[in-house]
Structures are given as structure tokens and as C-alpha cells.
């Protein structure tokens, strides 16, 4: 049963249809098929295999030296195909009302979705992150607690392979022994940052990223992942042996044909396909959910992008995992009689509480790092260290003018020069050219450090989406119109990031490249631009104020689930992907249980 045509799928009956193939879709398809559930996965984009990845290609053999273009927004060799801030023929609208700010929506139309190019940063939410309103009176509590998700974090870490360390820090959970892989050794600029953040009074610890720093323990882990399920254990043990640990070269974002890092296409889908229980139809753009006469979901209707025809497929349950806002769009566009405001929307909360991550960046140059002896600094191609949020006590003492925290991701080093590595060097050289410029380039290359804050946005009533009344995409499917506003909680946090980054750079004896931005509204990145969109179909305990329950099951249609980031009622500073996977696994287990009890 692997990749099949739209027509073939239309003639079969499935247990579950999963819409989407990224972190959520991949995880839930894995969980379900490992337990023998027959799954049809629908992906809007084309089939993709990481053997396509451009790994060792250098910029000199790429068009425009590999620089980003409107066709390839993150550079020529980035793994994303048919995706970006705009997808041809599939527009979205951004509201321009008073007070509304820009919003950008990154989409990928390819198997594995955005997991093919993501940063691989894999942080657990902490206990506070599930009960934000209880703690400070702002935002929305989750109907579940850290303890509910902890066993699934353990499982995802063991399955995917996450490097990191346990540091015993507040609201930054440790993993049980045997979950994490050892972190890679820090590079010199990271060690320097660690030394100086310690002076400033906050910790720098091992990053957590989905990269195999050693082979997965295929003898020990399968029994932990699938207790009492020898078939699943055998399949995952075999697959773990096919993944090769990182060989400390090539950018993760280009994709990884040796399967050292996590992409849904290299980690979740191969074992799921090996069960024989998974069919995948690619180029299947889902338009709406179909209902049976008794009001249950009967399946979905999608556009086969090859023929342009609408195709209907059927299953006992439907799981949306199309990326938070795409899942919301599908619910909005499903309105059989009696559901004029969109499916599962009697609360009126569908499309509400959209969140992204607060982002702000600052770079600088550090004389101590000039003219270092040549050495290889590529490592795991992303941060080996990071700064978890350290300000809980200061906030409790009323010393900060914003609630909620941010962590710091940072980088530097003698990485392969890109086209813009030395761009604008005159800020250091006063405009040198000629032999002097060559000397300057040798001196400054490798001496730059760059800091990015990733902070929590509190959901608000002014950040939401709806269906645009007139615009449709090339498939005839109505598109989303977004409305976005930050509050002072976020803009003040962004301004604080700027001060913090400048303080670190100056502590290292460095120079900031641009003046730190004191105006938070200018320091903050556009909504959506950090690509951590969350919300729009939040989970809760009350059908009046939420779209789904704690199992991510819609309140109104009991065989319809939303398993991506849409149900998250808050967006902690921790990058959401690991939590998306842990939550999807939990939802998958719940679906299996209910199917065994013949409740679905």
C-alpha cells in the first residue's frame, strides 16, 4: 500500500484519513499504522524524497550563488520546493484595518511539509506553559497539563533522536534518562557567549535539536516506544538501523539523505509505510470535509492537482494535520447545511487566537574571534548551545515590563561563506577596497555573532482569520484573510531582546552592527515570519469557548480531529514542533483506544 492515485484511493475504505504529512500528519500516521489502523494520508504537494537533497553543493554551482529569490525564499538549495511566503495560484489576504500589522504565511507544498527545512530545535513546553492564565491571569489555560504530555515527549525524543542535556532549570523540563542523545561540543563563539551570559547572570546550556549525534539504540528503544507490540517493535528497530548519525557537514535545512536529522519524510513515513497500513496520495489539495446523514464526518473532498477534478474519499474518522491555519481553512470551507459559519464552529472561536512567536534579532562583531586558526566549525549545522528563558524570578518580583519569556538562539563561526557573509563590511572597514579589502575579509570572516530571540505571544482577540468573501485559489477553494495585531506584551519583550543582545555583544568586547532598537514595535518581526503559527481551533474544557476537547476532537463531530498546532491555546517560547509531535502521538493513541472500543 504505498503511494497511490487519487482514483485508487476513492475506491477504498479507510479507518482514518490524515490531511497533511508534516510533523503532525507524519506523527499521527506513524502512531496509527504502528497499531494496525488503516490510514490514507493526503498531501497537497508533490512526492518528495530526501535523496533529492542538495547536500554538498556549493554556491558557485547554483544560480545567483544560491541566494534567495521569490521562487526559493530560503535560498536555492533549501529543501522546500513549491513553497514559500507565497504559493503561486494560492493567495491569502492580509487585513489592513486600523492597528493591523503585517502577517506572512509560509507554506510548503511537498511531502513532509515544512519539516523538510525547519531548524530542528526541539524544546519541551514546561509545566507553566500549560497553565499560563492560572499563573499570571493572561491568555488561556490548556485543558491538559505537562504530566499529560510528558510520556509523549519521552517517546518522541526516543523515536526522532534529539540531542540535548538536562540542566534542572525552572520550567525547562529535564528528560528521563535514556531519552536524549549527547549534545555536540560547542564551537568557540558559543563558548564565548556562554562565558559572558554567565557574567550577565543567565545560563547558556546545550541546545535541543532533532539531529542524531549517534546511532539510535535500536535494541533498547523499540520496546519503550511500542510495549506489547512486537510487530511495531520489529519495524522501528529495522528502520532505526537505516538512519545514519550526523557526519558533521552540510546544512540541515537542505534536507538530509542519510536521515540523520528529523524530516517527516525520513523518520515518520518510512516505518509507517513499512507497516503496509499506509496509503499516500500526493497532489491532493483538500477542499472540505464531507458529512454523512447522521452528521458524522464521512471523509474529505479534495482537488486532484493532476486532473483538477474533485475526488471524494471515505473513512471512519478524519484527522486534520494540514498546518494550523490550513486546517482552520478546511473547517471554515466545510459548511454543509446547518454549518454556515464553518464546521465545528458553534463556539464562534474557529479562526480565533492566532499566534506566532515573538522574534527579534541583532548581530555584532567580536575582535577576540578575529584571525582564528582555521578549523572546522560546521558541527550539527545549528546551535549546539542556547539560552533558555531565565527571567521567571525577575518577573515574579515585578522587575520586567512584560509577562512571559523568550529564549535566545545564536550563531557564529567559520561556516561556508555565503554570498552575503561579508555584505556591507564597510561598517567595520570604512569602505576599504583593493588589497586592503582582502586583508579585512580574512580578518573579519568568522568573527561575527548573531542573536535571535524567540518569545511567547499571548493570544488576543485582534489576531484572527476568516474566509475572504470573494477570493479563491486556483483550485476554486476560498482563501483565508488574516488580521494581525501584537499587544504591548510582545513589543516590550522584543525591545528587551534588543537590549539583552547588545549587552551580550558588548560584554564580549564586540560591536553591535546596528543600534539596538528601543521601539518594540519596530524591533519585532512580522506576524507569521518566525513560522511558528499556532491556534485557530483551540482546545478547552468548555464547548462554548473552544473548538476541540483535550483529545483534539471537535466538540460537534466526534470522529473529526485536529492534530496540528491549531488546538494549542498558548504558544510558549519553546518552538512548537516537538509539542506538535507529542500531542499528535497522544491524539493517535486516543483514536486507537476508541477504535478498539468501537466508539469510532
Amino acid at each position: 500500500m504505498p503511494f497511490i492515485s487519487a482514483q485508487a484511493a476513492a475506491h477504498k475504505d479507510y479507518d482514518v484519513i490524515v490531511v497533511g504529512s508534516g510533523a503532525a500528519g507524519g506523527q499521527i500516521a506513524y502512531t496509527l499504522t504502528m497499531d494496525g489502523v488503516r490510514v490514507l494520508m493526503l498531501e497537497a504537494g508533490r512526492k518528495y524524497d530526501a535523496s533529492e537533497a542538495a547536500m554538498f553543493q556549493t554556491p558557485d554551482v547554483a544560480p545567483l550563488r544560491g541566494m534567495d529569490t521569490p521562487d526559493k525564499n530560503f535560498g536555492f538549495y533549501d529543501a522546500t520546493v513549491d513553497g514559500g511566503w507565497q504559493v503561486p495560484g494560492e493567495p491569502y489576504i492580509v487585513g489592513k484595518g486600523e492597528g493591523e500589522t503585517d502577517f506572512k504565511w509560509w507554506r510548503a507544498r511537498m511531502l513532509g511539509g515544512r519539516t523538510n527545512h525547519w531548524g530542528r530545535i526541539s524544546l519541551r513546553n514546561g509545566p507553566y506553559d500549560f497553565k499560563p492564565r492560572t499563573r499570571d491571569g493572561l491568555g488561556i489555560d490548556w485543558p491538559i497539563a505537562y504530566e499529560d504530555l510528558a510520556p509523549y515527549y519521552d517517546k518522541v525524543e526516543m523515536l526522532v533522536g534529539i540531542y540535548g542535556s538536562n540542566d534542572g532549570l525552572e520550567n525547562t523540563p529535564d528528560s528521563p534518562a535514556g531519552c536524549l542523545l549527547p549534545p555536540p561540543k560547542p564551537i568557540v563563539s558559543e563558548l564565548l557567549v556562554q562565558k559572558h551570559t554567565a557574567r550577565l547572570g543567565f545560563p547558556t546550556v546545550a541546545g535541543h535539536r532533532a539531529v542524531l549525534t549517534q546511532a539510535l539504540d535500536w535494541r533498547r528503544l523499540p520496546a519503550k516506544l511500542h510495549p506489547g507490540n512486537p510487530t511495531a517493535q520489529k519495524i522501528i528497530a529495522a528502520d532505526m538501523q537505516k538512519r545514519v548519525p550526523c557526519f558533521w557537514a552540510t546544512p540541515c535545512g537542505n534536507g538530509c539523505s542519510i536521515r540523520a536529522n528529523y524530516q517527516s519524510t525520513t523518520v515518520h513515513l518510512p516505518p509507517a509505510l513499512a507497516t503496509g497500513k499506509l496509503d499516500i496520495v500526493t497532489d491532493a489539495m483538500v477542499a472540505e470535509i464531507t458529512l454523512s446523514k447522521n452528521g458524522r464526518a464521512s471523509g474529505v473532498r479534495f482537488v486532484d492537482r493532476h486532473s483538477g477534478k474533485r475526488v471524494e474519499v471515505r473513512a471512519r474518522a478524519v484527522v486534520l494535520a494540514a498546518s494550523a491555519f490550513e486546517s482552520v481553512r478546511i473547517l471554515f470551507n466545510s459548511h454543509p447545511s446547518g454549518h454556515a459559519a464553518g464546521l465545528a464552529n458553534s463556539s464562534g472561536r474557529l479562526g480565533r487566537y492566532l499566534m506566532d512567536t515573538v522574534g527579534s534579532s541583532l548581530g555584532g562583531q567580536v575582535p577576540l574571534l578575529e584571525n582564528l586558526p582555521p578549523h572546522n566549525e560546521e558541527g550539527a549545522s545549528g546551535g549546539h548551545l542556547y539560552v533558555p528563558w531565565w527571567g521567571y524570578q525577575a518577573q515574579a518580583a515585578g522587575k520586567l515590563d512584560f509577562p512571559r519569556g523568550y529564549h535566545i538562539e545564536f550563531g557564529g563561526g567559520r561556516r561556508m561563506p555565503d554570498f552575503d557573509t561579508l555584505e556591507g563590511l564597510e561598517w567595520l572597514t570604512n569602505g576599504s577596497y583593493g588589497t586592503k579589502l582582502k586583508e579585512d575579509a580574512r580578518r573579519y570572516y568568522g568573527s561575527f555573532v548573531h542573536f535571535s530571540g524567540r518569545g511567547e505571544m499571548i493570544p488576543n482577540e485582534k489576531s484572527y482569520c476568516e474566509i475572504d468573501p470573494t477570493v479563491k485559489d486556483r483550485w476554486g477553494i476560498p482563501v483565508l484573510r488574516f488580521h494581525w495585531q501584537w499587544s504591548e506584551h510582545e513589543t516590550r519583550q522584543a525591545a528587551h531582546m534588543q537590549q539583552t543582545f547588545a549587552a551580550i555583544i558588548e560584554s564580549m568586547g564586540g560591536r553591535v552592527r546596528n543600534q539596538p532598537q528601543a521601539d518594540g514595535a519596530k524591533a519585532i518581526s512580522a506576524g507569521g515570519s518566525i513560522i511558528h503559527e499556532i491556534g485557530g481551533a483551540i482546545m478547552g474544557d468548555d464547548p462554548q469557548t473552544s473548538v476541540v476537547n483535550q483529545w483534539c476532537q471537535t466538540w460537534e463531530i466526534n470522529n473529526l480531529f485536529v492534530a496540528d498546532g491549531a488546538p494549542f491555546p498558548s504558544n510558549a517560547d519553546k518552538n512548537p514542533t516537538l509539542t506538535i509531535m507529542a500531542n499528535a502521538w497522544r491524539v493517535g493513541d486516543h483514536i486507537v483506544d476508541r477504535m478498539k472500543r468501537r466508539e469510532l
Binding site: E52, A54, Q57, T58, D60, V61, P63, L64, R65, G66, M67, T69, P70, D71, K72, F76, V81, G83, P88, P184, K185, P186, I187, V188, L191, L192, C246, F247, W248, A249, L368, P373, P374, H375, N376, E377, E378, G379, A380, R414, R415, M416, P417, F419, T421, L422, E423, G424, L425, E426, N430, G431, Y433, G434, L437, K438, A441, R442, Y445, G446
Partner: protein, 199 residues
């Protein structure tokens, strides 16, 4: 007509119309799903559009910005002029903006050297060439009458360093080490840690 013939045709047509006035509008973008495995050369995807005279001026400016020295060749020797031609001929907004800036800048170099030294840019001796470059090499200190030329120079320098340091020779000049599989990652050598005071 295949792409190569198209390019020939374009070049022939350019003998009649000044190429600086042909917009790169005819060029096609590579799309959202290009082949990532093949080796691309300037001119493979869209026609190059610099005239010989423009190329000559571009070459001199590239090699003034990054001349050959004991460590590495000059910018033009590693293909930077071809890259700049590819860049300013590309169908994308950033590159189109650069095209305008670069072509006007190359013309400015000629008119400025005519004005000051009564000779074209290509014929002036090194000290005169340097005198012009010194006036435009840093935007913050450029006199008002040189401001626009200084902006051109800043961008052209970025295109030149970008092209040079992404070439194999440029990477070697910076003593970049990497893009090769390693059995393990050891972190910084002791001498590096000592140099920054961490060991």
C-alpha cells in the same frame, strides 16, 4: 529554437539596440521546483546582457575592488564578472533593482573619468582610478555630489565580494574548512581556545 540559439539571437539583436536598454523582462525565472542536482553556469537559465564595453568596465572595477595578490587571484579571474552579468540579467526584483544601479554606475565611471581626466574609465592610470574610487568608496563620507555613485560602489563591492568568496578560490583565501564528512566533531582545537582566553 533551443535556449542556446535564443541567447545567440538575443545577442545578435543587441548589436542593434543598446543592451543596457533591453530589460531582462524576457528572462524566465527557474520556478519553485528547480533541479538542485545539476551544475549551473551564468547564462544557463537566462541570457547574459552586458555589452562588451560594460563587461570591460565591470572587469576593471571588480579587479580594483579585489585584485590578485600573493594569496588568491583577482575577482574577474574567478568568474565574478560572469556572475555579475548573470545577476543583473536575472528576472527577479532584487536583481532588477541592482541592474539599474549597476548599469548607471558603470556609465557614471566613464563620464566621471572623462570629466576629471578627459579619458574613458578604462584608459586612466591607477592613481586617477584610485582618486575616483576614494571619493565613492564609503557612503558616510561621500560628498553630496558623489552620494549616488557611492551607493553604486557599495552595492557593487557586495556583489564582488559575494561572488569572490563563494568561489573555491575565495573560500580557500579565507581558509574555510568544511563541507566534508567527519567521523566525529571535536569542537575547537586547544590553540583556538587559548587564543580567545577559554583555555
Amino acid at each position: 529554437m533551443d535556449r542556446r540559439e535564443t541567447i545567440k539571437w538575443m545577442l545578435a539583436a543587441s548589436a542593434v539596440i543598446p543592451l543596457s536598454r533591453i530589460h531582462a523582462a524576457a528572462a524566465e525565472s527557474y520556478g519553485t521546483d528547480p533541479n538542485l542536482q545539476r551544475v549551473y553556469h551564468p547564462g544557463d537559465l537566462w541570457p547574459l546582457t552586458l555589452t562588451q564595453s560594460q563587461r570591460d568596465r565591470a572587469t576593471l572595477l571588480c579587479d580594483t575592488i579585489l585584485p590578485a595578490d600573493a594569496t588568491s587571484p583577482s575577482a574577474s579571474q574567478v568568474g565574478v564578472v560572469d556572475l555579475i552579468d548573470e545577476w543583473i540579467s536575472a528576472p527577479y526584483p532584487t536583481q532588477r533593482k541592482d541592474r539599474d544601479l549597476v548599469l548607471r554606475g558603470l556609465d557614471w565611471l566613464d563620464s566621471e573619468s572623462q570629466r576629471r581626466f578627459a579619458k574613458p574609465w578604462l584608459d586612466i592610470p591607477a592613481p586617477q582610478l584610485q582618486a575616483i574610487c576614494d571619493d565613492i568608496c564609503w557612503v558616510p563620507k561621500a560628498k553630496p555630489e558623489f552620494l549616488e555613485a557611492a551607493r553604486f560602489f557599495a552595492r557593487y563591492r557586495d556583489l564582488t565580494t559575494g561572488g569572490f568568496y563563494t568561489s573555491p578560490q575565495g573560500r580557500a583565501d579565507l581558509r574555510y574548512v568544511g563541507n566534508t564528512p567527519l567521523p566525529r566533531f571535536d569542537g575547537p582545537p586547544l590553540e583556538v581556545l587559548k587564543k580567545v582566553g577559554l583555555a
